[in-house]
Symmetry: C2
Subunit: 413 residues, 2 copies
């Protein structure tokens, strides 16, 4: 298993602010890993609103089932995340483990189990022994503080090679509010499957249905626009919590998604979600290149997205990028197989600033040496113009390397 | 580039029959490869009926465009196939090259250009210099004979590691007829893209629209049910030619697809198409395991096919098979991401005879040692029972190995 830090990793973990109303602590519950923290407890102030978006998998994990119910109330007092076991495809025992975990956490935090949300990441199909949280979570609750965000970011890692965090400031009606988020990557560790998890916290006073609207819109062009290997997890979870503590500083409570005072916050949140999503891709297993696939000129944005995904998920395009090879023939094939409206003879393709194909044939002015030099860079942009309409969409992915196969093939010898 | 013969290759090339009315020869036109044949000319007797199915790519190659038109007449007198250049995404010059090739072949065979069908495989985006066929095809026409089928099978290879052929006999109204087919694999060679090509010949007298009906049905569960890496080519081509020469032996001409006398022929043809399709998968780049994905209990056959494809195309499932790891958690995830009706708690999964999961959780009686032993075999069967309905479908694929990435990543150092 590759444990070296991804060459695409940010230089350092950001210096993230305290979110008034949010305290946390981590512990080593010994779910699966040795000598590392594997459980995170986040305590949320009374009145914290919450929203979430989850995997579209038809086989979701037990924690996903739980959160969908728990968030119907739009409130949360505590978040428990464990790594090492996804508690997915664990049948009735999985649901029981989730319930027990929520009960232990609720006791520790002095709230109702229904106010606890949960996420798990790690092995699929292994029963999760929630009794291991007995005592551990009580101790976490006692130790909970507004400490360094790198600790919770580390506790939720599986095959991630670095902790992922991002923060932002925004003003609502002139009052400054903070946003802080952490995430873990969609890394896969043979023979188990990890998960994309992300949790975002703010002290802004925002109603739950507004948070939900913000997330639903925000993920479209961030988390839902990235792909490492096209394999949707059973447990993907993104939750947003608003403690409302900024009200003490005179911040008005936002009750409507169309409230104009939300504009700055929405912008800051969207940027933060995109930052975290990019960090996930940059930690894709075996990733050596960060790839931006920008499709324009499609008949619609939905069509552009399907074509961009078709390119970003193409093993041939991804291996070509790994080989630093400007193989636009494979991009053509990926456009063609997407099944979306495309006119071969109007198609233009570029790598970064270099247009390699135009009007359904090689660009006469295409200089192979220049493009080859460009492909040696770490950030590769593949541009496709279908020349049909105004539909555009951008997807981010990474290359497909031998290391990916190694990590996930778990070659036994 | 891996050139060793695939470990999944058949022991030997089959001993294939002469097809009355079919003669052929090959030559080295120097399109791209050195010291090997790269062009095939097949001469077809007067009255030969023809049908074809082609790539669904929205960016098809110039030869595919040509064949779709040429086959409208339902007749063919000659087939020209070249390897080394796919003549795909070559704009107007591509269409001109196809026209010139057909004219040269028509002159050589004494027929109309519209009676010539063509296929090309190799580089995408490179103009094909059809003038190289001048003289070469005339010479081929002179040398054409009913020789060994391994020669045409070799001439159309690109990254294939072995020639692919299959044959069958059937009786129509008591008269024995022969079927012979060749194919090349969907191998990819960086930085170029190859193609799946297959050509089938019979001496049975069968009307073109009947041939078309036979093919359209036959590919559904053969060529359209295999996947190496989910990357549909720009040039996939399967054509069926019937010389009708068996009429001399008293074989009746079949004018209707519903003619009961066709039953034996259809069965033999379907078996031959499946044989060739399997040979293509077994030569998938880097393939070390042949994988059968059998999905049953789905709400419909179409739903079963989408789920089977989702499993067969999952990089995580494919790398797990490469690692000889019975990672059913990844099968669950692949079922979940297919977007088709699935009830996690009714799902059962098996590897070969070993059921590993049932009712949405690990099978209590599952013996890891037994399953691990099974996974070391070369033929792996993944069985999924959704427990919802009667829809079933089987897809065949190969594993995803480091060699695949090596072959297609063309690592430059």
């Amino acid at each position: 298993m590759a444990t070296a830090i991804s060459p695409l990793a940010p230089a350092s973990f950001p210096d993230m602010p305290v979110i008034d109303g949010v305290t946390f602590s981590t512990a080593a519950a010994g779910i699966r890993y040795k000598n590392r923290t594997d459980v995170l407890l986040v305590a949320l102030a009374k009145g914290t609103t919450a929203a979430g978006v989850f995997t579209r998998s038809k086989c979701p994990s037990a924690p996903v089932d739980w959160c969908r119910k728990a968030l119907q109330g739009g409130k949360a007092r505590g978040l428990v995340v464990n790594s090492g076991n996804a508690n997915a495809f664990t049948g009735k025992t999985g649901a029981q483990a989730v319930k027990l975990t929520a009960e232990i956490a609720a006791r520790a935090l002095g709230c109702r189990p229904g106010e606890i949300v949960l996420a798990s990441t790690g092995v699929i199909g292994e029963p999760l022994d929630a009794t291991k949280f007995e005592g551990v979570l009580d101790d976490c609750a006692r130790r909970a503080s507004a400490g360094s965000w790198s600790e919770p970011a580390k506790a939720i890692m599986t095959t991630d090679t670095y902790p992922k965090g991002a923060c932002a400031k925004a003003t609502i009606d002139g009052v400054e509010v903070n946003i802080a988020g952490i995430a873990k990557g969609a890394g896969m560790i043979a023979p188990d499957m990890a998960t994309m998890l992300s949790f975002v916290f703010t002290d802004a006073p925002i109603a739950a249905d507004v948070l939900q609207a913000l997330l639903a819109r925000g993920v479209k062009t961030s988390f839902n626009a990235i792909t490492v290997d096209s394999d949707t997890s059973t447990s993907d979870t993104l939750m947003l919590f608003a403690t409302g503590q900024a009200a003490k500083r005179g911040c008005p409570t936002i009750e409507s998604a169309s409230d104009r005072r939300l504009a700055g916050f929405r912008k800051a949140l969207d940027a933060l979600l995109l930052d975290l999503a990019h960090q996930v891709v940059k930690d894709g297993e075996g990733a050596r290149h960060f790839v931006t696939v920008r499709v324009e000129g499609a008949v619609s944005a939905a069509s552009a997205k399907r074509i961009a995904k078709s390119i970003a998920d193409s093993p041939l395009v991804k291996t070509a990028v790994a080989g630093e090879d400007a193989n636009w023939g494979r991009v053509v094939a990926a456009v063609g197989k997407a099944g979306e409206p495309a006119d071969r003879d109007r198609l233009a393709i570029s790598f970064g600033p270099h247009r390699v194909a135009v009007k359904g044939a090689r660009d006469p002015s295409y200089d192979e040496a220049q493009v080859s030099a460009y492909m040696k860079g770490q950030d590769i942009e593949i541009g496709v113009d279908l020349g049909l309409g105004r539909g555009a969409f951008t997807v981010w992915t990474c290359d497909l390397t031998k290391e990916y196969v190694e990590i996930n093939g778990d070659y036994r010898s």
